[in-house]
Subunit: 471 residues, 2 copies
């Protein structure tokens, strides 16, 4: 983060916290320059940024003041969920599809989308790497690089783990068609139809669909929007339901955006190991942190080989390349064999292109830029929600990823808002698709990973109006 951005973020935080109030005068440029030892241009840039965000306003010749009606963040949604503690066959897939399929056109403002804006990614450079890979393709690699996948790619993935403090041998990695295939392969490796699986509440709808597809029973466990699944409730659920697996996102959970603290991740892994419950860890947002360091992987604390870590490059580098992988611990052979049985292997060129990109360097630079953009979009987006949605609305404050979880006032029907929004050309992801029991009826997951522009702001304004009318 640049100096002026840091200064702006600090001032914005003071405004959101109420330390600076509407009408308060900000330090003059000269004062700020002197107090902080930064250049005048840094202060100017910070103030321009805050002005653009609607937080402060210049008055002729007298300096900058905190705006009246400054766009404050909505109050934080920070109470844990309390789902019904009953195992149940899942039956939500049709609803999920109806919601998703309704929004698959470019004309719709994609606030319900699961993907960040594709322009955020170095697709040009990856394209050149694809071309180079294609020119260098050894025909025999079409046979040699079957599952578990292209050796160079697996080596590069292992190197990234090493940088994150986790020693991994390339042979422990199985390349898959995106993280979703990895998750499904892992789930299938440790469950039989009729088994019970523990999940978060709310949870990523694709997890629900996978459970439904395999006729597994779901038990939803109370989950805190900031800190993830609650371990005491998790242990009670283990003792009561004897699950065959636990499927979680411990980093920037979809849809809440919560980040489980490192110590809690360690306690989670130890708890599950004590009960011999495999953990399927979906880590697709792990690289999209706004803080100063990569959050730990639950896998880092895995001494029993029970953590099946799944990830991909789809959200961090190469959308559309469908390059994902599993690191399935003691289940690596079972996962590889299942991959061979269900889809044989992944295409070789996308794997080679990504491996080449990683080898040549630049991934971290790209990620730093991506994280900064997402963080800035989150601020603008959350402020707009605070501004346009009616009082009684709360929202999460994730420190990574690109989803905001919005709790609308009690009684507002998210599925109805979804339908009305769609007729206005806006998609949203309504709460009930994230729940086996169709709970979270007044919640929305909104995607701030697309461009912050007038069209997006207008869409939030429209949503706010719809919600206010439904209140």
């Amino acid at each position: 983060m640049k100096l002026y951005e840091a200064l702006a973020a600090e001032l914005a935080a003071a405004i959101h916290a109420g330390e600076l109030r509407a009408g308060d005068r900000l330090p003059s440029v000269r004062q700020a320059t002197a107090n902080r030892g930064v250049s005048a241009s840094t202060v100017f840039q910070a103030y321009y940024l805050l002005e653009g965000q609607g937080l402060i306003r210049a008055r002729d010749r007298s300096g900058y003041y905190v705006s009246h009606g400054a766009r404050l963040l909505p109050p934080e949604a920070d109470t844990p969920s309390h789902p019904v503690d009953e195992a149940a066959v899942v039956d939500i897939s049709n609803t999920v599809f109806e919601v998703l399929e309704s929004a698959m056109t470019r004309e719709i403002v994609p606030l319900g989308s699961a993907f960040p804006g594709p322009l955020l990614f170095p697709l040009d450079r990856l394209g050149r790497d694809s071309g180079a890979a294609a020119r260098r393709l050894d025909p025999w690699s079409t046979v040699d690089d079957l599952t578990p996948g292209h050796a160079d790619l697996r080596r590069q993935i292992a190197l990234r783990y090493l940088a994150a403090g986790l020693q991994v041998h390339p042979d422990e990695i199985v390349v898959t068609n995106g993280a979703l295939e990895a998750l499904n392969l892992c789930l299938a490796a440790v469950t039989q139809p009729g088994d019970t699986v523990l999940i978060e509440a709310p949870t990523f709808y694709a997890a629900l669909q996978s459970l439904e597809d395999r006729r597994l029973e779901a038990v939803e466990v109370p989950t805190h929007p900031r800190e993830g699944i609650q371990l005491d409730a998790l242990e009670r659920a283990i003792l009561r339901h004897r699950p065959k697996a636990c499927w979680l996102m411990t980093t920037f959970q979809n849809p809440l955006g919560g980040l489980m603290p490192d110590a809690k991740k360690r306690a989670l892994v130890e708890l599950l190991a004590r009960h011999e419950v495999p953990l399927i860890e979906d880590d697709v947002y792990g690289e999209l942190y706004f803080g100063t360091r990569r959050p730990a992987l639950a896998k880092s604390f895995d001494t029993a080989g029970l953590v099946m870590h799944c990830s991909s490059f789809s959200k961090s580098l190469a959308p559309g390349y469908r390059v994902g992988w599993a690191l399935p611990g003691r289940y690596v052979r079972a996962v590889a064999r299942r991959k061979l049985t269900t889809s044989l292997a992944c295409p070789i060129l996308p794997q080679m292109a990504v491996a080449r990109y990683l080898e040549k360097g630049g991934y971290d630079r790209h990620l730093r830029r991506l994280r900064k953009i997402l963080q800035m979009r989150q601020t603008a987006f959350a402020q707009a929600v605070g501004h346009y949605f009616p009082s009684g609305t709360r929202a999460t404050r994730p420190v990574g990823g690109y989803f905001l979880w919005v709790e609308m006032p009690e009684g507002v029907d998210a599925l109805e808002i979804h339908r009305q929004a769609l007729s206005c050309g806006i998609s949203v992801a309504p709460g009930p698709i994230f729940s086996a029991k169709r709970e979270f009826t007044n919640c929305l997951r909104l995607n701030y990973g697309h461009a912050w522009d007038e069209r997006t702001e207008a869409a939030i304004k429209t949503l706010g109006t719809l919600v206010a009318a439904a209140k």
Copy 2:
């Protein structure tokens, strides 16, 4: 086929049929030139070809004679299988994996391989098309071209169907990660665990693995090596076992290589429609015919939407690209949704590259060359089997594809031959992996799709020695 090849094929057929016998003199070049109205060089080329195949031999100044010990084809394996008519849970997958995994290195002579030699394919041109596609990639296509797949590719596939006489709308096609994923998606769309599925005997081992994976029961139906599954037995099995699907290869069946005649395909489709049994048609070898026209698709006779046709470009154009598809008839929506749930979508660049290749033309020229090479390799390969394997050996005579099914003398244990061959650096595919009940204990599937060279011939000689010793 060129003139000299046609002439050589005709003479080879006469030798194999016994019309020309060992020691018989072939017409002189002058006679042949005059009789057939072809040039002397055509006759020379034909004779050279036959000499290279070991069928004829030149004697100084006196012309060409049919060789003593000419490499005759082995007697044809042409009796239908007679599997046990009992539904059974499949439990063969471990054996299949042990056999396949043992042979996954380049050092092994890959007679047990499922893939043809990768040098047979235009990977260079496809590589250039990949590069061009990467340069032209619209970032939004990473979102737009999710399942059912890249629109241009689906249009090109529909055009190929049109050329084969089948009118298909691109929206009826779901792009998949190779044919294997298509087959699995189709199977899952029409079955529940515990259901019964009818298959051929022998059948492609991946079909067995898919049934095992989904806990389906298999009923193996008698199958003729030349003409495919027997319809009277099929109807009896339908009435007795009430199957939820029938999974067949009607064109160049793996492993037998049989080709069901067009009229029989029509009767098959009508029979299954009468009983409302969906047909999963695996057509991955359909383009590899040696005859003058593409064999009909069972799908062509489908008026009820019950035929789920699956294919790919992996065996005909683009190995390693994993571009396959399903044409699932009335189940298209179910298949697309299942694809979304299990692996979301296929990578976009391989789809674009193949679409671009097809659009620019040259596929048919490539295929003509490929078919000719495979046919010539089959002759050389089958003759070597006839030459080196002990009497009592029989083999199929497929008119397409790249597999030979070899019946060794009664009592020879194919799994034992597999182990011995492996220790000699040769892979084979032993008969029992093609059977839910581990039948075909004296059979091998051999792949003639790799280069015909000294190493391959030496491998067949070694195999023949092993078989003779085991007899």
